[in-house]
């Protein structure tokens, strides 16, 4: 049994992405990075990255990353059913990357994403931007830019739905299953 409600609506999310874009631009300027390469993690991360990419006016196309082949739970849950090919329009070697995901919780997706990226080449740097940085970290990973920061109950799951409109849904899971 689970109960679902809207945690953030489209207006709040678009405003948060505006703020993320401003912070990202400041950060890039501070670090002297002129032409970063933006990469979204399937599926929610790509929706957020799409918007950030437009707001930052980046020239090169957005990259897509599917981390299914690098997950650490393969031997426990098997193949993930909806794998899409990763798409990186240009090489990542020696590039400054902005990695975008929807929710940062355990940190395991970002760990896997790093492994994927390094199998494509050795980037100069990786900046992590997430729409929501929440509690529940299991690995030493932190976001550089976050749209929202919040804590939830262990039984609460936040999921981004999209691509249009973007909504953040909160589901309360029954932990006594």
């Amino acid at each position: 049994m689970s109960k679902t409600d809207i945690w953030k609506d489209a207006t709040a999310i678009e405003a948060a992405i505006d703020t993320m874009a401003v912070r990202l631009r400041e950060r890039l300027e501070r670090r002297g990075i002129a032409a970063p390469l933006m990469i979204g993690i399937h599926t929610g991360g790509v929706w957020v990255a799409d918007r950030l990419h437009a707001r930052l006016g980046l020239a090169e196309p957005l990259g897509h990353l599917d981390i299914s082949f690098y997950r650490d739970d393969f031997s426990r849950v098997g193949m993930h059913p909806q794998v899409r090919p990763s798409y990186l329009p240009v090489g990542v070697a020696d590039r400054h990357l902005i990695l975008v995901d929807d929710v940062l919780q355990s940190g395991r997706t970002i760990r896997a994403a790093h492994n994927v990226l390094f199998d494509y080449g050795r980037p100069a740097s990786v900046t992590l931007a997430v729409l929501l940085e929440r509690d529940g970290r299991e690995l030493p990973i932190a976001a550089d830019v976050a749209g929202f920061e919040a804590g939830f109950g262990a039984d609460e799951q936040i999921k981004l739905s999209g691509p249009e409109p973007l909504l953040m849904l909160r589901a309360k899971r029954d932990i006594h299953r």
Partner: protein, 333 residues
């Protein structure tokens, strides 16, 4: 489902991959979708994913095949599995060990998956029936029976060019009678909803009642058979068939059933030409066709690795799943 399919576990997930027969359209589509995801791995600087790290795959080829064995080996290595290639002709089998003893010994070495090719139909099924519960068997061709990964790589190649199977006309040309490839292809094409599947061969090389058994149409004239076809699949003619009086000479076969640009002119202008390899140039087809703009023969080879990665990872991934569907998937945020 009336009788349980030996390839599937209690939840209907792939455990072994033995034949296309009895698999649902959904499962075949899932294999193609997964294979599509694996196509990108070859574009990485490191052409490898860590999915099956720590797994051991043994290639057991009782019958020779360089291409199939090599692509299975590459597929396993791109999944980061460890691969054993057993040279059967110089191994214990040649010294009189039975297939089951070979299986038991390799199981004792903690091999997780066997890729099996054998001249005897049913060998892979036999091994699956006797394998330990945590072991998967992949059929890499058994006698005249089945070659399911070849059929699936052909389906992936067709889908890359002609995504809508519901309108397709596919012609399979050559030794249908002895071909495990043709058998698996016919079943896969029908399962995936191709309405018009044709087989084209001399009468001596067509199984009796092939039309009723597989829902295909039989032709004995090549130009007529490939008329308006979207896909033309050529099969390999084995030289030993010439000696068994089922075929005249190679030259005569080519005169009647060899694919030339001229014969292909009745097919659709955007038709693709396929061949599982190795090609006998000047027997099954002209070099002009094999190297021509419609040929997707080398794409088939590339796609073969991705399809084998898909099947292997699906079977290996399902091995450790319990009898109840897992609820952990959502916890990976």
């Amino acid at each position: 489902m009336t009788t349980p399919n030996p390839q599937l576990d209690a939840q209907g997930r792939l455990k072994h991959f033995l034949t296309i027969d009895g698999l649902s359209r959904e499962l075949l589509t899932e294999i193609l979708d997964q294979a599509n995801g694996f196509l990108g791995v070859a574009q990485q600087a490191v052409k490898k994913v860590p999915l099956c790290r720590g797994k051991v795959v043994a290639n057991l080829f009782f019958e020779n095949s360089t291409r199939t064995r090599t692509t299975f080996e590459l597929a396993a290595k791109r999944l980061s599995a460890d691969v054993l290639n057993l040279n059967i002709s110089t191994s214990a089998t040649a010294k009189g060990e039975t297939v089951l003893d070979t299986l038991r010994n390799l199981e004792a070495m903690h091999v997780d998956m066997f890729v099996v090719r054998h001249a005897e139909s049913g060998t892979a099924h036999f091994m699956a029936a006797h394998a330990a519960p945590h072991v998967s068997i992949i059929n890499a061709g058994d006698g005249r029976h089945a070659h399911p990964t070849q059929a699936m790589l052909d389906m992936l190649t067709i889908r890359c060019h002609k995504p809508d199977f519901s309108q397709l006309r596919v012609a399979i040309v050559g030794d249908i009678l002895h071909s495990r490839v043709a058998r698996s292809q016919m079943i896969a094409l029908k399962t995936l909803g191709v309405p018009d599947v044709r087989v084209i061969a001399p009468r001596t090389l067509l199984p009796t009642r092939v039309e009723e058994a597989f829902g295909v149409r039989a032709y004995h004239d090549l130009s007529e058979g490939v008329r308006d076809a979207d896909v033309v699949i050529m099969l390999r003619i084995q030289r030993e068939r010439m000696n068994s009086a089922l075929l005249p000479s190679e030259h005569e076969y080519f005169q009647l059933f060899g694919l030339t640009e001229e014969r292909l002119s009745t097919a659709r202008p955007d038709a693709i030409v396929m061949h599982p390899g190795p090609i006998n140039r000047g027997v099954e087809m002209d070099s002009q066709v094999a190297d021509g703009r419609r040929s997707v023969i080398l794409e088939q080879v590339t796609n073969g690795i991705a399809v084998r990665m898909a099947v292997m990872s699906m079977c290996l991934g399902n091995q450790h799943l319990g009898t109840s569907p897992s609820q952990e998937e959502a916890a990976h945020a």
